[in-house]
Symmetry: none
Subunit: 221 residues, 3 copies
Amino acid sequence: MRLPVILFLTAISTVLAGSVPIQTLVFPSETSTSYVEMVPLKPINLKAFTLCMRVATELSGEREIILFAYRTQYYDELNVWRELDGRYSFALSGGSVVFSVPDLGAMQTHFCVTWDSSSGASALFMDGRKSLTKLYKKGHTIPPGGKVIIGQDPDSYLGEFDAKQSFVGEINDVNMWDSVLSDSTIKDMFSGKRVPRGNIFDWETIQLTTNGAVEVVNTEL
Amino acid sequence: MRLPVILFLTAISTVLAGSVPIQTLVFPSETSTSYVEMVPLKPINLKAFTLCMRVATELSGEREIILFAYRTQYYDELNVWRELDGRYSFALSGGSVVFSVPDLGAMQTHFCVTWDSSSGASALFMDGRKSLTKLYKKGHTIPPGGKVIIGQDPDSYLGEFDAKQSFVGEINDVNMWDSVLSDSTIKDMFSGKRVPRGNIFDWETIQLTTNGAVEVVNTEL
Amino acid sequence: MRLPVILFLTAISTVLAGSVPIQTLVFPSETSTSYVEMVPLKPINLKAFTLCMRVATELSGEREIILFAYRTQYYDELNVWRELDGRYSFALSGGSVVFSVPDLGAMQTHFCVTWDSSSGASALFMDGRKSLTKLYKKGHTIPPGGKVIIGQDPDSYLGEFDAKQSFVGEINDVNMWDSVLSDSTIKDMFSGKRVPRGNIFDWETIQLTTNGAVEVVNTEL
């Protein structure tokens, strides 16, 4: 009689899923001053990672967009970009790996980046679908000691922002793990199932420090 | 009390699904030298087949792409192509059957080809959706005695490769059966459910021989 | 102990789903001679109907396509069309109701038409999604005494076919009911669930009379 109990609990958790509160970052307009700092749960010192977020923007055409920036004193250690030409990329202190994938838009996209130093395997996920794998920075380690921000690309330590690279739109559910999650886990996350919470960033418990014209809106998933 | 046990095992296998390891072939650039040879589980001597793979590529525009090649001494016995004009086709020793279906892209597509000699019925499947059926090579048999390779189109036995037809991108989960699987089985495979393993090629146990700049990356489904 | 039994039956039906045989009509090329006659289970005398089929075609651009024709001695009583301009329509003996919906293509689409004389409510369904409703021929009755054919548009009783209106591609699973099915039933049918079988046409038991170059291919759903 164990199973019916398990099924019952599963049913309950599914029903309650609609009442999970979530913070959402709204960047209403283009600025060189609005950003949010995210403090990691432990030092960022990575041989592998999965970084996910839900993102929506009306920016399009020839416009760079910074989606995530981790900067130490002298280097961009992990920056995620929409490029001028509409492709998506990430850069680990020098060079970058670029993917010709569908563009983001005004409808929310569940967007992830994965990287594994042991092979260099790099991939994007959009709404649970995986891109091709590219090989990039095999053997590299992402070093600790920097700051993570959403909304601006720092060309120095938390400074020299360029409005033309800023994020405009909505970002939430930013989570990061120090390992590569399986394809099926990322698909589950996209479809709203509960997965192990991020051990670098966990959006449910994160402390956010906002600067400039960013609104933190509370909604329910 | 049999059922709860079965369900319990199903539940366990679902939970563990995230930990199914899979080999992925990454062809990082255009070459006339990189390819992978796949050894079949039994001689290829076929009156029917289903061939499936997961494939992603940034190649587009006017570019042929070889997706699968089975060549005997004098003939291309089963070659699967993206044509110059973006259509998809397969050829059984002379001629080919061509389908105007959506193009592949940088996001992974689950791609299958089916053929049945008794009627000549030929179809493609993309992400579980079936194309129209065309009639091709009714009564034909695909003969044994050749080599199967991924990455290049051999114009002679394992030779005369043309970089302009080579595969660039990612291919995995290449499985082949000596029968036509049902539409619902192919749809299940696309959505990650377990289906009977290929009896010509079984990606879980396959021995791959790589040549040139091909990386075999291990990830988890 | 009720639940396990239900689950057990569900499991059985799922396992068996792969083995449902289905007849498929393949029209390989444009002709003015190939067509299939379908004999209804009872006289067509209708104040309402649901007509569904799975259809795939590579025809596109400026090309009419006849999808279903029910003709009595002097009138086209129920003809379903792709119009020259890519819109879809059906006509009940004079005039027609036209819908600007996505075009069909080489990947199979589950396509339905519904009409109810009491309000004139008319709608299309493509892959389970419902179009807007239009009002057409309120109070009309579709009369008995004609012939239903697939593949050609008869401009007289089973004659005067025009190759430029003929169907080329694949059609199967043509079912018809003398009532309007619910939206959810149509969605279930699209996703392969069992629904009450058609009482005008039931594809599982239908007798097909083929003429010209039409192939009837047997596959499995």
